[in-house]
Symmetry: C2
Subunit: 315 residues, 2 copies
Amino acid sequence: MRMITLTEAATLLNENDNFHILTHRYPDGDTLGSAFALCYALRTLGKNANVKVCGKIPSKFSYLTENYCEQDFVCDFVVSVDVAALSLLGELEEEYKERINLCIDHHGSNSMVADNICVDASCAAAAEIIYVLLKAMKVEITRDIANCIYTGISTDTGCFCYTNTTAQTHHIAAEIIDLGCDFALINRINFETKTRAKLKMERMVYDTMEFYCGGKCAIIYTTLAMQKALGAGDDEMEGLASIPRQIEGVKMGITMREKEDGTFKVSVRTNDGVNASDFCAHFGGGGHVAASGCSIKGDLATVKYLLIKEAEKLL
Amino acid sequence: MRMITLTEAATLLNENDNFHILTHRYPDGDTLGSAFALCYALRTLGKNANVKVCGKIPSKFSYLTENYCEQDFVCDFVVSVDVAALSLLGELEEEYKERINLCIDHHGSNSMVADNICVDASCAAAAEIIYVLLKAMKVEITRDIANCIYTGISTDTGCFCYTNTTAQTHHIAAEIIDLGCDFALINRINFETKTRAKLKMERMVYDTMEFYCGGKCAIIYTTLAMQKALGAGDDEMEGLASIPRQIEGVKMGITMREKEDGTFKVSVRTNDGVNASDFCAHFGGGGHVAASGCSIKGDLATVKYLLIKEAEKLL
């Protein structure tokens, strides 16, 4: 296992063939955008490449895969993108955990096991690294690739709003807009469209909001029963995590989402440098300083109690 | 009255002194950001300049005026920024309507009366024009100026989300972030902070939502009574206009806001090229294709009826 530079990663990719590209579970815009951008790029170089996704690709991202079809080949080289830990590979972990050749990621908390690890935590999105990497590889950025990169960058920065955004993020956005990326359509899909079911879910979630630590911590939750009552799927759940942190005075916004396996998926978003990654590490999770996650087993009351107790220590 | 280029506008500003800079009524991030950016810039050139605001500056924009204090001088040159029509000057109209020397704007529907008119409708924000103008004037972009420009650009593009965003918008954002602009703070104030009163207002507004034209038109409203019940002021009202257009299938989102003077302030946001400016022109208003406004006198039921009748013709 060795840490490598972006230039070394570019060389590795240029020198190999027959790629499987792995995404993280509960796939989001960044892991999917990074994976399909890299896949399309490798194919433009005449190489074989497939993307392996754990779980279903949310339907709103179908535009990413319009020009994708699975290729038939024997895999020689495995790359993971935007995957911070082996466990986040989900159902892909078993098959791939001992044969990842290259890990490309932007999580400071990265703990992957791979032959080569290329992490740049200064990048707002894994897709930002992929873009710089593709330029180093002298790949021509097609519109499909531009759309993938834009999707990763825009979704991981909340459309250039979060503190992880940098001048480089905007430079890349400008470049790929000039290359014809469909940013208007992508923004509309990811930031400007709510189904009526999602609207109802948001209103229901607002009703669950409770404040702790003198208003510095806000918690919301969704239960399986709520999701069932509204016919809400993954698409309706997206973006809920950003709600509690937005309230004035809140330094830590916690979103709990009940899953079928008896756990709650917990998303933590913080302001003012409160360390969400440390907080989540306490529960076996991790991520970024201002945006992290973990999974906790238990019923609603218990999981909420554990989270509040930990928040009270911190705030 | 003559249309002039940006270079000519730069020359005019460099050659004159003792400026009053006018903003539009219900001042928003773009008119304020543009005005204070220009004011700070003229002052760095050793000139006298004051900003004239119609109405109160929303408290959340107080960071724009931290280093501003009114200067004492006799005005020689009047500039309007982001003002599309004389009537939008509000209480400033009477004093200035016949003595505006330069109008700088980005509204395609601009109908101002001024000696010199510099309009670039390809710019997402008036602040985008101001930035290019200041560079043409060889002004050093201080952090205060950068913060003003970022405020104008980010608020008028919904943080780089709306279709008016261009590669140039992102290039400018990158440049002013490199110049030290406090984009994280500005984003947090404008896009990531909701007072509890605003949260309550949003929930109340969701309850007013009605759909017309087979779901293609969504209308929401706030009344004075609702605003009073929640103790909601201008700050709580901001951003409501973006709510109805977000619903899946909606091509025209209409937001009605009751004002003290017996009118409703109407904001129209559209998708798929539906012309909001034409729609609002029918009621004496105007703006951009996807975002326009007008004021209509009457009670809730009447104004709503007029709007729906017009929407049904269009959709």
